[in-house]
């Protein structure tokens, strides 16, 4: 018996040894896990499932990607786990949401920052938009700001919470228009914030373009402006904030993509960085994403690294005033 155990132990040691000896040439040789720090069925979750559905193809990673949800505290629980406990062997990927995790790391109380993660590629960009109820008297951002100037602090508008894209957009609007607004963070996320607008509990709201697009199609809201540098393909008729005279960039755009923990072998990162963007470009993925009303924006690792650094700087400046 003892011999048998010793033999087994040796065999295991030999197996693990050979993996290390060979390096990562065969990566990946087993299915990969991807952590999503929001609940199943949410926008991040369902987009993550779509963009990874072709991972098993021969021309992609050749191994399927399984989604594991670790929701809680606006994503903090999942990212805390990813930064401190996740294996950095390349078999544990994570989905990131910008500006959420950067804003949270600046706010403090979490054990991650941009230095703890290595981006792989970006798949989506969902800009924030300003919405008002379908029967609202506001028809442009100028109307909204005029009201806010006449009633300082009296313009109530909803968003998905504090230190998320919507909150950043709200802060930018306040700064650019030089008015005092009443941002009401909702505990039920973007859906709850949208409900508050449709029900008339608040005068307006910041929400995701993809959700607002659906709500507008349903005749429930009007979209007055996009918090992005350019107009969006889904809403070509809606002007950006910049066009309406407010100096607001794309700092609040909700970028979604894939990252790995710090310490993952460089060969693995390089392999993923080369393959994953082509996976996002897959025709089936693209058509599913478009059908779901989710704007895609594929970016390579280098582009994402620049974007992260730029966000870090903008957000530090913006949140310093809080």
């Amino acid at each position: 018996m003892k011999k048998w155990i010793a033999g087994a132990a040796l065999a295991v040691a030999a197996m693990t040894g050979s993996v290390h000896a060979e390096g990562h040439g065969d990566y990946p040789e087993r299915p990969i896990m991807m952590m999503v720090s929001y609940g199943a069925g949410g926008a991040t979750d369902f987009q993550a499932r779509i963009v990874t559905m072709t991972a098993g193809n021969e021309d992609a990673l050749g191994m399927p990607v399984a989604i594991v949800n670790r929701p809680g505290a606006g994503g903090r629980v999942g990212w805390n786990w990813f930064a401190t406990e996740a294996d950095n062997d390349g078999y544990t990927l994570g989905a990131y949401n910008i500006p959420h995790f950067i804003a949270q790391s600046i706010e403090g109380g979490v054990s991650y920052s941009t230095d703890d993660f290595e981006p792989i590629a970006n798949w989506g960009a969902d800009p924030a938009v300003f919405v008002v109820g379908a029967d609202s008297e506001f028809n442009s951002m100028a109307d909204v700001i005029d009201y806010a100037k006449a009633n300082p602090g009296g313009l109530t508008f909803s968003g998905a919470g504090l230190f998320v894209g919507h909150h950043i957009a709200a802060l930018q609007l306040e700064k650019a228009a030089e008015v005092e607004l009443a941002y009401i963070p909702n505990n039920a996320g973007g859906a709850g914030a949208m409900r508050a607008v449709i029900a008339g509990e608040v005068l307006g709201g910041v929400n995701n373009l993809s959700d607002a697009f659906r709500a507008q199609a349903a005749g429930n809201v009007k979209i007055l402006g996009v918090f992005d540098l350019e107009r969006n393909d889904f809403l070509p008729e809606v002007p950006t904030m910049m066009e309406q005279g407010y100096d607001i960039d794309n700092a609040s755009v909700n970028f979604r993509g894939i990252m790995v923990p710090k310490g993952t072998p460089q060969e693995v990162i390089d392999h993923l960085a080369a393959v994953v963007p082509t996976m996002f470009e897959n025709g089936r993925v693209q058509s599913r994403m478009e059908a779901g009303g989710s704007p895609m924006h594929v970016m390579t690792r280098d582009e994402v690294l620049d974007m992260w650094a730029a966000r870090q700087e903008t957000l530090e400046e913006l949140l310093a005033d809080l």
Partner: protein, 509 residues
Amino acid sequence: MDFLFYMGDVFTPINFGLLLLGTVGGLILGATPGLSPTMAVALLIPFTFKLEPQQGLILLGAAYTSTVAGGAVSAILLKIPGAPANIATTLDGHAMATKGEGAKALQLSFLASAVGGLFGVFLLIFLTPVLARWALAFGPSHLFWLAILGVTVIGTLDSSSVVKGLLSGCIGLWLATIGFDDIMGAQRFIFHPAVSGGINVIPALIGLFAIPQVITMLTKGRTGSNAEIITVKRHPIRLAFLEVIRRKTALIIGTITGSIIGLIPGVGGQIAGLVAYDQSKKFSKESEKFGTGHSEGVIAAESANNAMVGPSLVPLLTLSIPGSPTAAVLLGGLLIHGIFPGPDLFMNYPQVAWTFIDSMLIGQILMCVFGLFIAGLAARVARVPHAVMAAIVLGLAVFGSYSVQNSMGDVYVMASLGLGMYFLERFGFSAAPLVLGLILGPIAEANFIQGSMIANATVGTGTYFFTGWLNWALIGIVLVSVSYSIWMEIAQRRYTTKEEAVAKEEAVS
């Protein structure tokens, strides 16, 4: 009558096969502690990738309906609610099971579920446009008062004394504050990384109900040499039908309460069963029998939690706003297939929308048939020896808590809350008010903060929370509920001797 026109689509071989699969699978998933309806639907979504939109929705709808009802099985036989919706079912359901009426309790619960569920789906079919406006009427101030109404239930719920009920409710409210707060993101009582996301309701629920049961089973297992196994008397289904018809007050109260509460976004089915249970207790002529294995308790609770399923989809299907966590997951399932719910859903995709609703209708009936069949098998579950049962339940408890967020932290939370609850039960406290506090705490808090933020920016706190007919109506119900409880307490005190109170308390522990 569009829904009749598309009824045939439900019965095509593939669709009906998926409906059967969803129903049977849902019943099994629902009966497993920890697999709540939300989880079950989320687990099934990847499978719908390969299906037609219509077929995928049939599977999801059937699973949603039957997991809610399936939760009653473990609630009755093991006193472990499969999901928050089934908490109220444990109160009388398990008491009935210990009296040997497990099969009867299960039959009643499935019949009541079917009646409530059918009513809920018919509401969805006929009154959706009217109800949609209702769903929007509840703003932060109203949800706050609704949560307060829930708190008034705490004191009278399954406890030998009001004070102990309120105390355990307060423990629940405190547990609810742990973690990052919902709105401001402030950190509260995070003494261990396992609780940084707050106390999740599902692991807490499993721990609070299952662990004390396991410990009790283990302590009894040795001494009684399996003498205390629950016996299950056979109970003809015909008698169960008659019983449900005879208890029509409970059935009506359960169905109506469930439908109304299901409609309100954000509150969901978690408290529908408990509020219905409390209301039917107050209206019943035999209110003193509640908690001792009274059939009205089971009927009210189960008809309510299934009645909530149909209306909870109203905001989703008409306004594209998910009203409950499960509806949010369903929205994801719809979007994957490129279907945007909204007022024109029934115009653009009538076949998908109506087949989905029809399949929920048929699903309710299938669920009832299979449920009644399961009730017949109940005897076998109850014949398992205590020691084996304890091991199985413990295994399920660990598995269920872990699977919610794939987190070992949740297992620790489950174990420590369960251990604490075992001792609290010894002192006459009960788990139901504690869980209710845990559920209501965040609803009341978040809506109060949101409401006061809106109020400060506009009309002022007093006006915001105390004017408007809906606020007045809710405050009125709260006052009536409180004064009724006080009056009952005083009236009972006059006739209850100390010995009776002690005896009742010992029976509970």
